[in-house]
């Protein structure tokens, strides 16, 4: 079984800078780490490989420094890793990211299973996974907390509003995983020595089937960020500092008719 895991480098802190003109994030200069939710996807892939054999390939769309998270994935046990990096891919929204990753995955090879994290801590949309599936024309299940190989595909358990549904999807298919699926392992120093300076594949648009650059990056995006602003505070409030607060609170709850 060949598995592809989509991982993303996210800023290590929440204090980020935004380009005033384009509304696009300034990525350079900020320390990055692997999106924590993607660790669960990678762990799931590694467990499936341990049980059923095959390979685990990881890939990310991002700047060249995103190689750092591919190395981290190598240290956890991934077999191959790709960074899809190209100036023309920058500033992508969900639509363009989903399309780029679908093209990228196709350019690398044929995979039975594609795994994504449930969401990123920077984009925070939880939408890229299903968008990739749509572009690849394959079924998907999201928010999956149990995943097992059965026959020619997988059984995936997803929790919806008032039901827990287990669906069977034949390969190839895409799954986004919840964080309670497995506890991610730590990158191992032993692995780090083993892999030495195992290369990370870095590819650009030229490796994709669709070479039309207007389908990628900022120009391939349908949404535009018009403005970024701090959350405002416009509540009126009373401050009680002189004790006796229980008594006063009881009176207010009465006035509001809660008691």
């Amino acid at each position: 079984m060949n598995i592809f895991v989509c991982i993303k480098q996210v800023p290590a802190t929440n204090k980020v800078q935004v380009d005033e003109k384009t509304g696009v994030l300034k990525r350079s200069g900020v320390a990055g780490k692997m999106n924590p939710y993607d660790l669960y996807a990678l762990e799931t892939a590694l467990r499936l490989r341990e049980k059923h054999g095959g390979t685990v390939t990881v890939g990310t769309m991002g700047p060249p420094q995103a190689q750092a998270i591919i190395r981290e994935a190598y240290m956890m046990g991934a077999d191959e890793g790709y960074v899809f990096s190209d100036r023309r891919l920058g500033g992508a929204d969900v639509l363009a990211t989903g399309y780029t990753l679908s093209q990228a995955i196709r350019s690398v090879g044929d995979f039975d299973l594609i795994l994504c994290g449930k969401q990123t801590t920077d984009g925070d949309t939880a939408q890229v996974g299903p968008a990739i599936a749509e572009y690849l024309g394959i079924p998907h299940a999201a928010w999956v907390s149990r995943l097992e190989v059965r026959g020619d595909g997988v059984d995936a358990e997803q929790q919806l509003q008032d039901v827990v549904e287990t669906v069977h999807m034949p390969f190839p298919c895409l799954v986004t995983v919840e964080q309670d699926i497995y506890m991610p392992r730590l990158p191992s120093l032993k692995k780090a020595r083993e892999i030495g300076d195992k290369p990370v594949h870095v590819q650009g648009l030229e490796s994709f089937l669709d070479q039309d650059e207007s389908h990628y990056g900022l120009t391939g995006s349908a949404t535009q960020v018009e403005r970024i602003f701090p959350p405002q505070d416009d509540t009126e409030h009373e401050v009680w500092e002189d004790g006796n607060s229980a008594e006063k609170l009881k009176a207010v709850l009465k006035r509001w008719k809660f008691i």
Binding site: D93, L95, C173, Q224, I259
Partner: protein
């Protein structure tokens, strides 16, 4: 619009696609499939090719005629036979947005045995309710659900499509927006409609530390998801109005490679999102046993209790009781926070509550900027005292 392409290196020339195409749009030529003008880009060949040799490629329309896309469509999620309340909240918001532009508000239902839900929706001021009711839709499969909504969107051409940001909604919406090659904005907290029908979508970014204002200027429809309890539900009117439109799709379109292994209804769990009164404990609590005080106060007020994330991480509480970006959004009539600092990841998911009371010893705690009543005091003094007085009163 998209177009279908055949990958030469993978095609074995089996001609299954010719048989599967419901529109007779594929012919074999020199042992390879070729698409003719009848192709509706329905994607059935992409779905059914055993070699994954057929793919959808995107081609872009440069600009859209916005006047051809009118009205607002709400996807009304049905779960275990009931309308999810987020759908009603979205209808409420949609009606507000629609009025100045003279747009109508429509709803779409997908599932099985939907008559009662459709009938109920007629009391909420929508002009049309499109219903896709089929045994094949009895459980959720994102691809076929998307095909139903897609069909109605092509028919009704709404300018805006609103979907609840539930697990189901967030799995469905990206498949749909991708099919229309248009924008989708997740978890909007504020929506406005411009005169030119551009939807102004405001959402928190970076864990709520900043807000982003996003528009979809060049494509239609404009897709947005909104969480439960962010918008106000409309008042149910006695009068039933609005046209119920049953629509059906060819069997092949409702087929998916996904099949249901089991579907277990969860016992209707009381969710903190549904509580009218909430008492919340934060890290100001010194030990797990002290949570009993929070529970007791909640019970005395006839409400429910919740916590911040650190308490869930300590194992004192569970994720379904956590308020915040990685937990639930709540909007009760009364919320009393005890020993909560008020990090943005917490406050952004409770600041729409009607009455907010915060108890914290630290005068400069950020929770006080969202609180209506800021009590600078020790929770270990205030809470037990309040419990005592409430008990006295009830005795």
């Amino acid at each position: 619009m998209a177009k279908i392409a055949v990958l030469e290196r993978k095609c074995t020339g089996c001609s299954l696609c010719v048989k599967n195409c419901p529109f007779s749009a594929i012919d074999m030529k020199d042992g390879r499939p070729e698409l003719n003008a009848a192709c509706k880009v329905c994607g059935i060949c992409v779905k059914t090719c055993p070699e994954q040799a057929i793919v959808k490629l995107e081609t872009r329309v440069e600009s859209v005629d916005k006047s051809k896309w009118r009205d607002i469509l709400v996807f009304a999620e049905v779960s275990a036979g009931r309308l999810h309340p987020v759908g009603l909240e979205l209808i409420g918001k949609a009606r507000e947005l629609a009025e100045p532009l003279d747009f109508k508000v429509k709803a779409v239902l997908v599932g099985e045995n939907l008559k009662p839900c459709a009938e109920e929706l007629r009391h909420f001021g929508v002009s049309e309710i499109a219903v896709y009711d089929d045994p094949a839709l009895s459980y959720f499969r994102a691809d076929v659900y998307a095909s139903c909504v897609e069909d109605y969107i092509r028919f009704a051409r709404p300018s805006v499509v609103l979907v609840g940001a539930t697990s189901l909604g967030r799995s469905l919406a990206p498949r749909l927006s991708t099919r229309f090659h248009t924008g989708l904005t997740a978890d909007c907290t504020k929506l406005e409609l411009r005169e030119n029908s551009d939807l102004v979508q405001i959402r928190p970014a970076f864990g709520g530390n900043i807000m982003a204002q996003i528009v979809t200027e060049n494509t239609r429809p404009q897709f947005a998801t909104v969480r439960y309890k962010v918008m106000n539900p409309p008042v149910r009117s006695e009068k039933a109005e609005g046209n119920v439109l049953f629509r059906s799709l060819p069997k092949a379109v409702l087929e998916s490679r996904t099949s249901c292994v089991s579907s277990t209804p969860l016992p209707p769990k009381k969710s903190i999102s549904d509580a009218e009164i909430l008492v919340v404990g934060g890290r100001g609590l010194q030990k797990e046993a002290d949570l009993s005080m929070i529970r007791e106060l909640a019970a005395l007020l006839g409400g429910d209790w919740a916590t911040t994330r650190p308490l869930v991480e300590k194992g004192w509480s569970t994720n379904d009781r956590q308020i915040g970006l990685s937990g639930r959004t709540v909007r009760p009539r009364l919320i009393i926070t005890c020993g909560v600092s008020g990090a943005i990841q917490f406050t952004s998911c409770m600041n729409a509550s009607d009455h907010i009371v915060a108890i914290n010893t630290d005068r400069s705690a950020p929770i006080f900027s969202v609180a209506h009543i800021a009590i600078v005091d020790d929770l270990y003094r205030v809470v037990p005292e309040l419990i005592r007085m409430l008990k006295e009163e009830q005795a």
